[in-house]
């Protein structure tokens, strides 16, 4: 055989040659049966566990399908004074009443926004989603990125407020539903981000006064619950402002959110700043760059790149936290859902409405979390290269 003539350091070929002569593995260790044995029935304990879990899952799935699909009521007739929920009352406890969603979905999504103008918040939601997708693809150059965001946010403002020919003015206290959640989250993050960068830099500054100010700000905000900041915004902030200067409730909540998110994002960004080797700072200094040019051209691009995954996780938390405005009476997605079931006809159908709201939150958060996981993989590969 020519194998003997080959240099010894060529194990793959030899191994391949050997593998052909090996006996087949026992039948029970390959294929579906093998997989089952390796993953579900390795031991007595594991087998018992599998059986118990299968039983529980089957029971749960049966009950769920029974409730959510088979016994469910999807639509109800509308009577003279609004929809009649009698059909839903009849199946209460044994079937879901999805009719409450069919009837109320416009209210849950758009709140008290004038009915004929619902296309405007709907378009805004579409713009928001488009904005997220475009940003997540990370294909835009930095300049285009900034201009896209600025254009989109201005367009959303114009669409929501109106006041120009063709778009009647809609005051802020009529806004509601999903669009308010997206506004709070997106504007909050967009404005908190620059603040967070400044605070993170300030916390690592060599100037003691600035460092102490930043530390006090971050630790104070992180030490108290968001609720207390929202209370601050809703009941204390009006006292802080001079007479005659009235900020809208939504705007006040938005300020609280920016301050809150700023502190948490600052800590994430600080982590990135700390991960940059000292040599980078020194190299930038050696090139004669000023402090701000050093930060903007050398340090921040690297630091932000490292912290994208934890940043996305913070975004997820922040997106969920916008639901807290319910407590100070702002009409976001969850609060619109809670209000929808205050109507006598729909009282007691909270589970269906909360599941509907929950599925919307879930779609956004799940997309972000998957994105962050993918990104982590890509970044890891790049770093290992």
């Amino acid at each position: 055989m020519s194998d003997a003539a080959r240099p010894l350091a060529c194990p793959p070929v030899a191994a391949r040659g050997k593998a052909r002569t090996l006996p087949r593995p026992p039948a029970g260790s390959v294929g579906t049966l093998g997989w089952l044995r390796a993953n579900l029935f390795q031991s007595w304990f594991s087998a018992a566990l599998t059986v118990a879990l299968v039983y529980l899952i089957a029971h749960g799935a049966y009950a769920l399908i029974d409730w959510a699909l088979i016994n469910a009521v999807w639509t109800v007739d509308s009577g003279s004074d609004g929809p009649k929920s009698d059909a839903c009352r009849a199946v209460e406890g044994i079937g879901a009443c999805w009719a409450v969603i069919t009837e109320k979905h416009r209210f849950i999504l758009f709140g008290t926004y004038p009915f004929e103008e619902h296309w405007r918040p709907a378009l805004c939601i579409a713009i928001f989603i488009g904005l997220y997708v475009v940003s997540a693809s990370r294909r835009l150059s930095r300049k285009k990125f900034a201009s896209t965001w600025a254009t989109a946010l201005i367009a959303i403002g114009v669409l929501m407020w109106g006041g120009i020919p063709g778009l009647p003015f809609v005051p802020q206290d009529l806004w509601g539903g999903l669009v308010v959640t997206l506004i709070l989250a997106t504007f909050g993050l967009a404005l908190a981000f620059p603040l967070a960068i400044l605070v993170a830099l300030g916390r690592r500054s060599r100037l003691p006064a600035i460092r102490i100010l930043c530390i006090v700000y971050v630790e104070l905000i992180r030490g108290v619950p968001l609720i207390s900041l929202l209370f601050m915004a809703s009941v204390v902030l009006p006292l802080f402002l001079p007479e005659g200067m009235n900020l809208d409730k939504l705007l006040r909540a938005q300020i609280a959110f920016i301050l809150f998110a700023g502190a948490y994002l600052a800590e994430v960004i600080r982590g990135g700043l700390q991960a940059i080797p000292k040599g980078q700072y020194e190299a930038a200094d050696a090139l004669g760059l000023s402090y701000w040019r050093k930060i903007a051209l050398v340090i921040l691009p690297q630091a932000l790149h490292i912290v994208i995954p934890p940043l996305v996780n913070t975004f997820i938390g922040f997106f969920k936290d916008t639901s807290l405005v319910l407590i100070i009476g702002i009409f976001d997605l969850l609060s619109a859902g809670k209000t929808a079931i205050l109507e006598p006809a729909w009282q007691g159908f909270g589970i269906e409405v909360y599941l509907f709201c929950g599925s919307i939150y879930f779609v956004f958060c799940f997309a972000m979390s998957r994105y962050s996981q993918n990104l982590e993989g890509t970044l890891d590969r790049n770093r290992r290269r």
């Binding site: 579900l40 060599r206 104070l220 108290v224 209370f231 204390v236 969850l334 879930f362």
Partner: protein
């Protein structure tokens, strides 16, 4: 190293005279000082502006500032209180009851969330595919929904439970109904304190004995069985005290009488919902922390321990767990802090914690600034204590490097 550089410095002539602060923009030190003065000045100016506005606004609205209102009669009813309370008591007492209610849910929540989270985290690493998938789905589902939504959904579910007469009884003595959860309660008699003291003494004795045994083993290499003597100290000693004093051990079993359930320990629907929501939500995060902590211990560590002949249990106890804990503790601390802060969502479902009571106080007295300041101070104090404790614990288990 440092000695030589010091020496080199001493020998070198001063190349440059000591920089004197010049009052010119070209001098970096001067610039630093100016920047700091500008920033601090701006912040102080903004604060002054706010304080001035506030003073003016309070005058116009005729609200008296200060904490004097704390001594006034509150007149607000509180359903659940750990200390005796009636609506005739002062606002101070009402707020104190609120703080205790917050601590009650946070402390129990931290313990339960840690236990549940650890189980789910380990389940995610289980070799059983089904169990691992279920745990993963649980974590993903729970983490991607807002806590407030969890609480509202759970509260609706609890309110939709059958009444006390048809209460669910998963285990004998446990009643779950729309009036909350009723559990058997331990009847505490004066003599039990003595038994408790004996148990504490036993704990201390067992601990000292174990340390002594370990020190001996370190010295001569001979392992000593600790558990028989520890058992005597922990179980037999308290039992002897109990027999000697002849105290009965009784549980107060709840039972259905008329239209309600009497006796036992009652967890109100609000407390039960809040606790359940906080535990289920935080456990999902803790599970991820535990999982990544265990995965962070390299396989080489397991293999090295096996090569030394350690059993699986000993490997976990002495090799894997100490290393995993180092990774787990810091993020766990922030989860505990989150749980404590998230307990403030109680106000949304009507559990009367500090935020809820302070909110009512604002509505009744108009003392918004003071009340919000009290909320913030309470949470800062709670956060600080958790951080201090966890930092101490973290330092204790931290890797001692050269």
């Amino acid at each position: 190293m440092s000695a030589t550089t010091d020496g080199a410095n001493r020998r070198l002539p001063r190349s440059r005279p000591r920089a004197r602060t010049k009052f010119a923009w070209s001098d970096p030190k001067f610039r630093d000082v100016v920047w700091q003065i500008i920033v601090v000045g701006l912040v102080l100016g903004a604060l002054w502006w706010l304080v001035d506005n506030t003073r003016h606004n309070l005058e116009v609205r005729q609200i008296a500032g200060g904490f004097g209102f704390l001594q006034r009669e509150a007149g607000l009813p509180i359903g659940e209180h750990l200390i005796p309370y009636s609506p005739l008591d002062t606002y101070f007492k009402a707020l104190l009851v609120g703080v205790l209610n917050t601590l009650r849910v946070a402390a129990v929540g931290v313990v339960l969330a840690t236990v549940l989270g650890t189980f789910i985290g380990i389940a995610r690493l289980s070799p059983n595919w089904l169990l691992a998938r279920l745990a993963a789905i649980y974590v993903e589902l729970v983490r991607d929904l807002p806590l407030l939504l969890h609480l509202l959904l759970l509260y609706t579910l609890v309110q939709n439970l059958p009444g006390p007469r048809q209460a669910l009884r998963p285990i004998d003595g446990v009643y779950l109904s729309n009036r909350g959860l009723v559990l058997p309660e331990f009847e505490w008699l004066p003599g039990h304190s003595l038994v408790g003291a004996a148990f504490a003494l036993g704990c201390a004795g067992a601990f000292v004995y174990r340390r002594w045994a370990m020190a001996k083993q370190m010295a001569d290499g001979k392992p000593r069985t600790v558990w028989p003597i520890a058992m005597v100290l922990l179980v037999v000693l308290p039992a002897l005290v109990s027999f000697a004093l002849d105290i009965p051990w009784r549980l107060n079993w709840p039972s259905l009488r008329g239209f309600n359930i009497r006796g036992g320990m009652v967890l109100s629907p609000e407390y039960f919902t809040l606790l359940l929501g906080l535990v289920l939500y935080t456990a999902a995060f803790i599970a991820e922390i535990v999982r990544s902590g265990i995965l962070a211990v390299q396989t080489g560590q397991w293999e090295a321990a096996q090569a030394l002949g350690l059993t699986r249990r000993l490997t976990l106890r002495w090799i894997v767990l100490p290393q995993a804990l180092r990774v787990i503790i810091p993020p766990m601390t922030s989860q505990y802090l989150n749980l404590a802060k998230n307990s403030s969502l109680a106000v949304a479902i009507g559990y009367q914690d500090i935020v809820s009571i302070a909110n009512t106080t604002i509505n009744q007295t108009g003392q918004a600034i003071e009340s919000v300041a009290i909320i913030m101070a309470v949470y800062l104090a709670i956060s600080l204590s958790i951080s201090l404790f966890m930092n101490w614990y973290n330092k204790r288990i931290a890797l001692v490097e050269r």
